[in-house]
């Protein structure tokens, strides 16, 4: 056990879990945000049916991430959750509402309008709250003696509101490129028309956040402007993806546009990670400070290494079975 840095292994697992969650729940949260703007009820049916067989896996990663944190990095769990107390509540309430609305919308006629509203509202609130968490995380947390000492609204700042909006438009973009890939006819044309506008909004937030981030903390400034020049490739790659999305959408390369949107998220995510690495609770605690006892990390690692391949296989199988376009009136529950 001593030969391996279990904390490092766990950091990779959780970082992987987070990006899996962001990418996979991202496009269906995005569809939820775009839901009220859909041209008609047929389009909403297509939107929901396009994620019905796969969205279940998404929250898997969220719960696994939460449970993994308390097992492997309890300090992150015990500082972040109190610090983000009200934001966490909003996110959970949003996720619960949209989850239940998702199921009952299929089964209802008269009350469908309510479930539509719950699905859209829940998706928006959850996405915005997650975006605020990202902003609050970059800013860091006020702590003393391994305990959060800040206030209830420390997480809600102009910067975190900006990242909140950023994630809302980001998820919307992901939802739009997904929908173009999975639909046809008027639904696809509607979604395609959204992409340039959303792309501009995403880039605007991206640029402001990128310029703002280094000034939040001297540590972040040093990381970007001192010696590690190679990390500049990350925002550069993200920008290339953005250009690529535009070009691919124009040339109707639907799969490529979606993959490049995933790329945009991945490179942005990596950029955020290197800004703060190895601090998992900025500005004071590194991942080794936050780790649980090695025997606990090891005990649960066995189970995780057993179940993650199963979840990945199951997920891949779900996507494979459900490949191809969703048509209006098809796959209806």
């Amino acid at each position: 056990m001593e030969m391996y840095d279990l904390s490092l292994i766990w950091a990779v697992i959780i970082a992987f879990g987070v990006i899996m969650y962001v990418l996979m729940d991202g496009f269906d949260l995005g569809l939820g945000i775009l839901f009220p703007f859909a041209p008609d009820e047929d389009a909403r049916d297509v939107m929901m049916n396009s994620v019905a067989p796969v969205w279940d896996g998404n929250e898997t990663w969220l719960v696994l991430g939460g449970a993994g944190l308390i097992a492997a990095f309890p300090l992150v769990y015990t500082i972040l959750l109190p610090a983000l107390y009200l934001g966490v509540f909003l996110m959970l309430a949003g996720l619960i509402f949209r989850g239940v609305a998702f199921e009952f919308r299929f089964k209802s006629k008269r009350t469908r309008g309510w479930w539509n509203a719950a699905f859209a509202g829940g998706s928006f609130v959850a996405a915005f709250a997650q975006g605020c968490v990202v902003g609050a995380y970059i800013q860091g947390f006020e702590t003393a003696d391994r305990v959060y000492t800040g206030g209830a609204f420390d997480w809600l700042t102009p910067f975190s509101v900006l990242t909140g909006i950023g994630l809302v438009v980001g998820y919307s973009l992901l939802g739009a490129t997904w929908l173009v890939l999975k639909s046809e006819g008027h639904v696809r044309e509607w979604a395609r028309g959204l992409i340039p506008k959303l792309l501009v909004a995403v880039l605007a937030v991206f640029v402001v956040v990128s310029l703002w981030t280094p000034w939040i903390d001297p540590g972040v400034f040093e990381r970007w402007f001192d010696h590690l020049q190679v990390i500049w490739l990350l925002p550069f790659a993200a920008l290339l993806c953005a250009v690529g999305i535009y070009a691919a959408t124009r040339r109707r390369r639907e799969g490529l546009a979606f993959l490049l949107t995933l790329g945009l998220f991945i490179f942005t995510y990596l950029g955020l990670l290197v800004s703060r690495w190895p601090y998992v609770i900025p500005p004071d605690y590194t991942l080794w400070d936050a780790a649980s006892a090695p025997e606990s990390q090891f005990f649960i690692l066995i189970g995780v290494l057993f179940v993650v391949p199963i979840i990945l296989t199951y997920t891949a199988w779900s996507y494979w079975v459900f490949r191809g376009k969703v048509r209006v009136g098809e796959g209806y529950h």
């Binding site: 898997t60 939460g66 015990t78 107390y85 959970l92 606990s296």
Partner: protein, 470 residues
């Protein structure tokens, strides 16, 4: 009055965990029942078992879905409201909770899909096997959760270094002294819950003369089970109580409403415990009863609450009355099971309308009893979150203010009110649809998924189906 974040956090946890626990206690019992029905189908080839199995699988899917949704909140409560506890105990509870999550995922990604959607795609034996694995899976899930809770009641297998729990023996920590009793008590409670709901629903159908033959079989079989399980639960509960007497004597003192440590303690049927007075205002009891039950000797000494300072005493009356509610409901269940046995002569079990009405009402009794039982064990542990080791005051999140907790408490009540209403309303829809309409709704869509158990039922949410009955 200043809002107390500790009290409000306890209320919040009690609220979310109570609403969550209703669903798993039901699914655990129901999963075993479905496995039993599918097993009978394989063994006898009689399709009535398969039809009943399908009906109860649909209900299982909805309840399971509600349990998953309400469970998401639980995974975050330990951090948001009890962060010092999480930090203190994470080396033990972290892996425990994670293993529960892993168990659930394994279950969902594997056997639940075959159970929910594989009825016409695999052979009856394979389908039965999947049902059996789901049933076992629900018990494994409960295993991790109850091991964690039991450790908080009777901690062992650990040492504290630098203010943090370190596990010295996983086996000792998991199989701590109260765990076997709590697990057995809870498993039986889950069976009783499933059993009484099945009886109540069967009675509902018999009263309306729908699918009489199938529901007669279900009722008969389940009443036999209850005749064994209900008295067995009384025995296991008694053993659990003796275990508590050994390890958490003050919980027993509160349950018995006993203030002085003394012999010849009466078994109180009714009392008004008063913490200010440090005595009961009114008492009606059976002389020497408590001594006899707890020590098997009229002269047996029963611990009293005065052994601990007033500020460490629990809200005695809640523990006292919750315990009586649980026991009274348990006795009612036994009476119900025995009455059913008597009514079997001449088949009156299926025709006596008053009894069928009683069974309908009794179907909520296990939910009340389980809730009351958890109130006893959780409030009875007060003021300790980890018994004798960590108090509520040391466990709560330090940065929390009363206003924050109140805001989210109101929020959770609002969210759960909507979700719970929708879920229960829909559940009644599924029940009312009955067995006969199941055939045509049985097509399986490619988009149905076990991780969305609600996709296994295609009953409309808001269209009336009852009018189509004759």
């Amino acid at each position: 009055m200043a809002l107390d974040p500790i009290l409000l956090s306890r209320l919040q946890f009690a609220f979310v965990v109570t609403f969550h626990a209703i669903f798993p206690v039901f699914t655990i019992g129901l999963a075993s029942y479905v496995a039993l029905l599918q097993g009978l189908f394989v063994a006898t080839g009689n399709t009535v078992w398969d039809r009943l199995g399908l009906f109860w699988t649909k209900i299982f899917a909805v309840v399971f879905g509600m349990g998953v949704v309400s469970g998401i909140v639980m995974a975050f409560q330990f951090g948001t409201n009890w962060s010092n506890f999480s930090q203190f105990a994470s080396n033990f509870i972290g892996p425990m909770l994670s293993y529960e999550v892993i168990t659930a995922f394994f279950l969902e990604a594997g056997f639940l899909g075959v159970l929910l959607f594989g009825r016409h795609r695999v052979s009856p034996s394979v389908h039965f096997f999947a049902a059996l694995m789901v049933a076992i899976g629900t018990f494994i899930s409960a295993f991790w959760i109850l091991a964690t809770n039991s450790w908080m009641q009777t901690p062992q297998g650990y040492e504290i270094r630098e203010g943090v729990v370190h596990v010295t023996s996983w086996v000792e920590a998991i199989f701590n002294p109260s765990f076997p009793y709590r697990f057995a008590h809870m498993a039986l409670a889950a069976f009783l819950t499933g059993g009484f709901v099945v009886c109540g629903v069967s009675a509902w159908f018999l009263l309306r003369r729908r699918d009489v033959e199938a529901h007669k079989r279900a009722l008969s079989m389940t009443m036999w089970l209850l005749l064994i399980l209900a008295p067995l639960q009384a025995f296991v509960g008694d053993e659990h109580g003796l275990n508590t007497l050994e390890h958490q004597p003050m919980k027993i003192a509160a349950m018995e409403g006993n203030w002085e440590t003394q012999s010849n303690v009466p078994l109180l049927l009714f009392a008004l415990p008063d913490r200010d007075l440090q005595a009961n205002r009114v008492e009606i009891g059976i002389p020497n009863g408590a001594s006899l039950i707890l020590r098997h000797d009229v002269d047996g000494v029963v611990p009293g609450l005065k052994e601990i300072p007033v500020e460490q005493q629990q809200p005695v009356w809640i523990v006292f009355y919750s315990f009586r509610v649980m026991v009274a409901l348990g006795l009612l269940m036994i009476a119900c099971a025995v009455t059913g046995l008597v009514l079997r002569r001449g088949g009156k079990l299926y025709t006596r309308r008053w009894f069928l009405h009683v069974l309908q009402i009794m179907s909520i009794s296990p939910f009340l009893a389980v809730t009351a039982g958890w109130f006893v064990t959780e409030i009875g542990r007060s003021p300790w979150l980890v018994y004798g080791v960590l108090s509520y005051a040391d466990a709560v999140t330090p940065s929390l203010t009363g206003g924050m907790v109140l805001a989210t408490l109101i929020g959770y009540v609002a969210v759960y009110a909507v979700i719970f209403w929708a879920g229960v309303y829909y559940l009644f829809k599924v029940v009312r649809q009955g067995l006969d309409a199941l055939g045509e709704g049985e097509e399986v869509h490619d988009s149905d998924r076990p991780m969305r158990p609600l996709s296994a039922t295609h009953v409309p949410f808001d269209v009336t189906t009852a009018s189509s009955r004759s």
